[in-house]
Point group: C2
Chain length 207, copies 2
């Protein structure tokens, strides 16, 4: 009996607490009415930067919103996503893989620069075309090695990106100047990694 | 002429640096030969926890690997993904939405507990079935409010999860005990958020 009363009391307190939480949340959300195309950055050493970028692309596909992907650095990663998109959703999502392998695989700076420039030309074309979202996968790597000029990228995003187009940029070591002009920045922080116990990258998880 | 020489020199240095990087990377990767089903956690206040979880689910779908999703807390979020998966990939990915709205929307603890328990029963069934990946979306919220007992969840994962099944658990405030037993933990850290400038959650980005 005493226990039942305590449970009832806990439930009532919980309801009250949650009602307050809902009121606070509703109040905040009511002020958020704007819409605009966002500059979104996923950076940090942790997992999920590209994966979450592709997650938003699939979200766009799900809603029938036109989108596109440019991969600046091609690795073993995200080949699965590319196949899936090309097979089922090529009408709504354009997919370009421009990089020729991680830069430490090629050891050819001149070629890396040319590839990054070509990828950026394609990216600009897709962005100005008015799609709802363009994912520039691993562009931060190209910016970090100065294969691309960050000031040129920023100037383009600020002056020529259509107002409702979202641009998502992924990769470690996002440049400070880019973070400065972005609307939504998430740092994926590595807390624990299975490599430490000798586990390799696995299909479906890493690629 | 001098400029050309400098460029050639820079390119040679770059090639050398990248060759070293590749050798170091190859050496490390050669030691990573194991495969196992991972316990993966996405936590933190930043964006991309569920999105990256769904990204891995789409990666599994792309490779034709059986997988499943249990949503512990249903919100406006990820409805797009659910529709896309149910429409195109229901043969390879089972999808269950068990939660009845964010807990601060319901204000009914007894119902929240019952819903979380039902979701957990479904999760256990899907995990022991031997699928390659099961995504337990927002389970950390249910654990945080003690709708589920974290020790029960840990005991199940350690004793009954098939060795090759990946379990992905998302949501803020992952419990320390869960982080302790996980293989791969990423904290999504919020650096910048457009809510600060009065922008609301937008289709294709947030849901």
């Amino acid at each position: 009996m005493a226990e039942e009363q305590t449970v009832a009391h806990d439930d009532a307190r919980h309801a009250e607490k949650m009602a307050k939480k809902k009121a606070a949340r509703d109040k905040i959300m009511a002020t958020k009415t704007g819409e605009k195309g966002l500059i979104i950055i996923h950076t940090g050493k942790g997992k999920g930067k590209s994966t979450a970028g592709f997650g938003m692309i699939f979200r766009h596909i799900a809603h029938g919103m036109p989108c596109a992907v440019v991969q600046f650095i091609k690795g073993a990663m995200v080949t699965g996503e590319r196949e899936l998109i090309e097979k089922h959703f090529s009408d709504i999502c354009e997919f370009h893989t421009m990089g020729e392998g991680f830069t430490w695989e090629t050891q050819d700076r001149a070629r890396d620069v040319a590839t990054a420039q070509a990828a950026w030309e394609k990216a600009k074309e897709l962005i100005v075309s008015g799609r709802s979202m363009v994912l520039l996968d691993e562009i931060n790597i190209a910016l970090r090695y100065d294969y691309l000029d960050v000031n040129e990228v920023i100037a383009f995003l600020q002056e020529e990106k259509p107002p409702m187009t979202h641009v998502v940029m992924t990769g470690r070591n996002a440049k400070d100047e880019l973070i400065e002009i972005a609307d939504l920045v998430t740092e994926m922080e590595l807390i624990k990694h299975p490599f430490r116990s000798g586990i390799k990258g696995q299909q479906g998880v890493e690629f």
